[in-house]
């Protein structure tokens, strides 16, 4: 018998929970985000994993549900996460959800203490009595329990279970669900990296963390698959795959919040222990920012580059809230960035930029007069003038090509793209000179990675030099928790 509801399909964001500076729910921004999402989505999941349900009190969750229902105004279904460690608490929250008018409850396996599979079944059998439609939520990455297909099948037979959300990314598991219960309940994919595959294979929709950021693109992908235009769907997914991979794997909550922040939503940060610069690393921030710049999701503003020699340039700059309105003091600006993986091919670029004729330029000219050696710094670009300085003494020709060919190619490509994006305006190319210290590990093998990592690091280092990042606030906030990779004995 099919219990699959007509309303449970399409693209559904697992909405984040915005917090204020003092860590309270920011209702105003939350409503603003719902309004941003509504035109492009088929439902809203509130208090899901991306919504940090686990860091919210039940009172806060109920409050969020109320606001969501109020702001959505029946335009789309509102699905509410009710998972708690114990059956009793989950049951109470699910009852409350029904009373308040949630369309359905999304229920992850009880976590921390891991129940057996018969206990899991009993848990859902008890919740089934509430009468609210239930969506079983498989998220082994967090709950620590990966539902067996036969457990999911059994639970799917309960009369009020209307769907299964699978966030595992385990396509063989999902295929087993299609085989067993596809006609009875809706099957939704929750892993952002495999959406096209899952929907093409038969999933009814997707509940996604990255749909907070790019609901429109996901909607296009969903409809392309449903209209059997797989080429279109694949090319769209490929275009966003890198960003989606970073978000899904590197702390969905904070990652989505930082992406939204870059776009101008004042959503705040995750609650501790998730922190800025933590599981969503600074290199992820820079990479997501580059992706969003390319997708045109970061608003542009006029930034004045005041070179101090009477020359002032205005650039249409893809600006985040921290981007200054005026960039000046070009005597020496510094920028540093690191990018991996893998271990041997990491890039660490460390740059200073300054004015032609200034101290940086003078240092370049002096370096050119030094005796020749394999490690002697080289000019790798004339416009802007860039000198590449190898951080590790070069001993072999393999090292030499890794540094002066592959790393250099990455660096030049990063400068080109920064120019294209308006981060490094075309009009200052003749005024600014750059010295970049490049670390390539002597054990580096994969040339393509050396190039790409240097590209990523250089693009970030330029941005950071222009924006004077990290800020003092960032340094002070992280000065106790920082993890220096070489500080410890092996």
């Amino acid at each position: 018998m099919s219990k699959k509801p007509e309303w449970l399909k399409g693209i559904i964001p697992a909405i984040i929970t915005p917090f204020t500076e003092d860590n309270r729910i920011n209702e105003e921004v939350y409503r603003e985000l719902i309004r941003y999402l509504l035109p492009n989505v088929d439902g809203i999941v509130t208090c899901g994993t991306t919504g940090e349900f686990i860091y919210l009190s039940n009172k806060e969750k109920i409050n969020l549900l109320r606001i969501t229902i109020d702001e959505v105004k029946d335009k789309v279904p509102v699905i509410f996460g009710t998972a708690c460690p114990s059956t009793k608490e989950t049951l109470e929250l699910t009852y409350q959800a029904m009373e308040l008018g949630a369309t359905a409850a999304l229920v992850a396996a009880p976590y921390f203490i891991k129940p057996s599979f018969n206990e899991l079944y009993d848990h859902f059998e008890i919740l089934n009595k509430v009468g609210l439609p239930l969506i079983l939520y498989n998220i082994p990455q967090c709950a620590g329990v990966h539902f067996k297909w036969w457990t999911a099948e059994g639970i799917a037979k309960l009369e009020n279970v209307v769907g299964i959300k699978d966030t595992s990314g385990d396509i063989p598991f999902m295929e087993a669900l299609f085989e067993k219960v596809k006609d009875e309940v809706a099957i939704l994919v929750g892993h952002d990296e495999v959406v096209v595959a899952a929907i093409a294979a038969g999933a009814d929709g997707a509940i996604l963390s990255s749909a907070n950021v790019i609901p429109d693109i996901w909607r296009e992908i969903y409809h392309a698959v449903k209209n059997k235009d797989l080429d279109r769907a694949q090319s769209l997914q490929t275009k966003i795959q890198k960003m989606v991979r970073i978000i899904a794997r590197n702390g969905a909550t904070q990652a989505v919040k930082e992406a939204l922040h870059m776009m101008g939503f004042n959503v705040g940060n995750s609650r501790l222990p998730v922190m800025k610069g933590g599981v969503f690393r600074r290199e992820d921030y820079e990479e997501v920012r580059s992706q969003l710049e390319e997708l045109g999701k970061i608003p542009r503003k006029d930034v004045i580059f005041d070179l101090g020699n009477g020359k002032k340039i205005v650039s249409k700059y893809p600006a985040v809230p921290e981007t200054p309105d005026v960039v000046n003091n070009f005597t020496i600006r510094t920028g540093e960035a690191f990018s991996g993986p893998p271990l041997s091919e990491v890039a660490h670029t460390d740059l200073i930029m300054g004015l032609r004729g200034g101290p940086v330029d003078e240092a370049i000219e002096k370096a050119l007069k030094r005796p020749d050696s394999k490690s002697k710094p080289r000019i790798i670009s004339h416009r802007p003038k860039i000198m590449l300085v190898p951080t590790v003494t070069i001993r072999t020709s393999k090292q030499e090509s890794q540094v002066f060919k592959y790393a250099a190619e990455g660096i030049i490509a990063a400068v080109d793209d920064s120019i294209k994006m308006g981060v490094f305006p075309e009009q200052i190319l003749d005024d600014i000179v750059i010295v970049v210290n490049v670390f390539v590990h002597p054990g580096a093998s994969i040339r393509q990675r050396v190039k790409l990592n240097n590209y990523k690091a250089m693009r970030a280092a330029i941005r950071k030099a222009i924006e004077s990042r990290p800020t003092i606030d960032e340094i002070i906030r992280e000065k106790e928790a920082y993890r220096h990779p070489f500080r410890y004995a092996p």
Partner: protein, 476 residues
């Protein structure tokens, strides 16, 4: 069944397999290695994981065992590794080992394909039936990809010629579980160098160890101390080699042990490919091995001449182009701090000033002209988290190896950066300085500094003092 003759007690080195320049088994080196360890061990284990058994042909395995047996002259038992994925392959290898004179053979859980518990039992059962040589079971989940199930060990322990289990997992809950299950029918030996003391104290009869190639004498003392109940003594020996065993375990076993033996003058050649120094064993870790060997007296500390900068602090920046007159004329801030004792004593000499002053030129120049062995480094708290004001750290003692570089750029850099971050937070470095000024730090670290943690703390203290002198005491 008559009680088995259980004789696997004490310390057994899992011998490396020395290779010559053409990657052939180096007989002379192997004999030399056997002679080096023989007096301090209770038996020898050629062709184990440390002996790179997956990279040896059956002929090479035979040759290695024959050499070890011959050089041992029957003084100590030889337990030869005879592992392979398929049952019939192991039977051939075990017969071969017996013919070569081995006293027992050591056999891992079957690898690559993962048979069920039934298949694993049948594997050992068939081998035990087919060969006339005592068998040591070998649990090494790190390489096999699966544990040898404890219930299977319980049943295998009833087979007459299965005499022992070597457990390399390092997982003491597994070790104690099998000790309890086999009820003394077979010996359990620990194969993880990092947990020897607790394993033997917990009931293991001995240890088969990769690091017993390098310091069999220390392990013999550990073993005796535990048996005599001198746990405090045993622990202190274990702690003294803990870092070195961790390095061996994590950075390629045979590859890392070979590096250590080569440093000690027992030339055993390279590991076979794909393993290499610079890959599984990074160069900087090589240098750590050297220091640890010096610490336990297996190689000598070479004399190193160096000194801490002395005299007026303004006189300590000549080499980067700053004279006392210039420092005075430009009113640069200077400060110095010394902290700690002995090998971890640290000195920090600091100069700071405006980006738009002559210091800007010095900063750019140091950044652009790395002096070999004295490469300057921008201070960061961690990658992607640079400190402000921009700070360059310049080592004053030539960095001759990667380990020394690691000490300066690791604990050294972290200590400098944390001190600056704290000084900004406390107001010792005024906020307006952050955008306008630059800092240059000359950092003096003893080239033989041993303790990362202590070095970090000392650099932090010395930097804090230098900051205080430069920014607070002489604030202008």
């Amino acid at each position: 069944m008559a009680p088995k003759l259980l004789w696997l007690k004490g310390i057994f080195p899992a011998l490396v397999t020395p290779f010559d320049k053409d990657e052939k088994v180096d007989e002379d080196a192997l004999r030399k290695l056997v002679r080096y360890v023989l007096n301090d061990v209770d038996g020898l284990v050629p062709c184990g994981t440390t002996g790179e058994f997956p990279y040896l042909s059956i002929e090479e395995q035979r040759k290695v065992i024959e050499i070890v047996v011959e050089e041992t002259e029957g003084k100590k038992p030889v337990v030869a590794g005879t592992s392979a994925p398929a049952t019939h392959q192991v039977i051939d290898l075990a017969k071969n080992a017996k013919d070569a004179g081995a006293d027992a053979c050591l056999i891992t859980t079957p690898y690559f394909l993962h048979p069920s518990s039934k298949g694993v039992y049948q594997h050992f059962y068939e081998i035990a039936k087919a060969v006339d040589i005592p068998i040591v079971l070998y649990n090494i989940p790190q390489t096999v990809g699966a544990y040898l199930p404890p219930e299977v060990v319980e049943d295998l322990s009833e087979i007459p010629n299965i005499v022992a289990l070597k457990d390399s997992s390092g997982n003491l809950t597994y070790t104690l579980e099998v000790i309890e299950r086999v009820e003394g029918r077979i010996d359990i030996l620990v194969g993880c160098d990092e947990v020897v003391v607790p394993a033997i104290a917990g009931g293991c009869s001995g240890a088969i160890l990769m690091s017993a190639n390098v310091f069999p004498d220390i392990w013999q003392r550990v073993y005796k101390a535990v048996l005599e109940g001198n746990l405090e003594e045993a622990r202190s020996y274990q702690m003294n080699v803990q870092k070195l065993t961790r390095i061996f375990n994590r950075y390629g076993a045979g590859l890392a042990v070979k590096a250590a033996l080569n440093m000690m003058g027992i030339k055993v050649g390279k590991a076979r490919g794909p393993l290499k120094i610079g890959g599984t064993l990074p160069h900087e870790v090589m240098a750590e091995i050297q220091i640890e060997l010096e610490k336990i007296g297996k190689i000598k500390f070479p004399d190193i001449k160096f000194s801490f900068p002395e005299g007026e602090v303004e006189h300590r920046f000549y080499d980067i182009g700053l004279s006392p007159e210039l420092i005075k004329k430009e009113s640069f801030r200077v400060g110095s701090g010394i902290f700690g004792d002995n090998l971890e004593r640290v000195q920090v000499d600091l100069v700071a000033g405006s980006k738009n002053s002559y210091l800007g030129f010095i900063y750019a120049e140091q950044f652009t002209h790395p002096r070999h062995g004295y490469e300057a480094l921008t201070a960061i708290l961690e990658p992607n988290l640079m400190i402000r004001p921009p700070t360059l750290i310049i080592p004053t003692v030539e960095l001759k190896n990667l380990r020394q570089a690691n000490m300066v750029y690791g604990p050294g850099q972290a200590g400098v950066s944390k001190a600056i971050a704290d000084a900004i937070a406390s107001g010792n470095i005024p906020l307006k300085v952050v955008d306008d000024e630059l800092i240059l730090i000359k950092l003096t670290v003893h080239p033989k500094a041993l303790n990362h943690h202590l070095l970090y703390k000392n650099v932090y203290q010395a930097t804090s003092k230098a900051i205080s002198e430069a920014f607070v005491v002489t604030r202008r």
